[in-house]
Subunit: 155 residues, 2 copies
DNA sequence: CCTTGACCTAAAGTTAGGTTTAGAAATTAT
DNA sequence: ATAATTTCTAAACCTAACTTTAGGTCAAGG
């Protein structure tokens, strides 16, 4: 139990609730950068607990790992982040979340308008053009709404 | 151009904007059930345009394909769905959407509360327990928030 | 010293939602 | 009757975000 040797990966895992394999994966994705001890094992700073916590929260908000890496790059590299530093990058998260909420609310309003109108399959239906790409998760269909129907005879 | 022979898969693809491969995939997932013509090719009803449109909209709302299949099972099997039928299952969508919006708003409020408090890594932070599983997309971490930290010494 | 548990790397496997490819058969157009 | 499209199936491939496995090393306790 050396005082200032840093946390081993297992300890960090217990502190964050993440799997050890996930922490190693995050490192491969450039989200966290431990140093190595004499034996080649990873050692982490206590501040990394907070860093990983931030990653988990940002994921709940729907950000991808590359996006989170981008946000984290807003932290100072030369010193341990202060609460102010965290606050600064959290504001970016807030904006992201606001945008997602707005999109969903607009989608819901459109649905309300459509529930009664039976237009569900017309290309002009508002639900088809939420003008945000609604960037679906995963690697979804590339051709979503690619081209217009051949004629205007509808179904 | 036979009158009542049904739509070929390519025609349905053009009408919906989906890729042919996606339509076949949806069939494999039980979302749509065409019949076959004498030569073994798939033929679709005009009502299937609307069915697939519904699938696309539900996806934008964040439902998974199994969930969509479940919702679609609320349609009558013996006849072509009427606007009333569509309206009925759309109400279910609306509920789903409401729940998602509520979750995000609660998440946002928690973030607002946390931005200043610097608690980002404490297990008791509200952001850790949005009590909805916040079911992340993909096959995410199995151990999210699995067990509590060993001691209460925090970072 | 020796054993046990934690750690290491690299590679392969997993899920969701599809796409791509390959080779063959059915349709449609000329 | 051809030629050009479409469509068919099965299997492999793709991305994201991880987990699992295999085989070997490090660290701590007795």
């Amino acid at each position: 139990m050396a005082a200032s040797e840093g946390l081993a990966i297992g300890a960090l895992a217990r502190r964050t609730g993440l799997a050890v394999s996930a922490i190693r994966y995050y490192e491969a994705q450039g989200l966290i950068a431990p140093w190595r001890n004499a034996g080649g094992q990873r050692r982490y700073q206590r501040a990394d607990i907070r860093r990983l916590s931030f990653v988990m929260i940002a994921q709940q908000f729907g950000l991808t790992l590359p996006e989170i890496r981008e946000v984290l790059s807003g932290l100072p590299g030369n010193r341990t982040p202060t609460p102010q530093d965290w606050k600064k990058i959290s504001v970016g998260l807030r904006a992201h979340l606001d945008a997602r909420i707005d999109t969903l609310i607009r989608l819901r309003d459109n649905l309300d308008g459509c529930i009664g109108c039976g237009c569900l399959s017309l290309p002009k239906c508002a639900l088809y053009n939420p003008d945000d790409r609604a960037k679906s998760h995963g690697s979804g269909p590339r051709y979503l709404m690619g081209d217009a129907p051949e004629s205007r005879s509808d179904d």
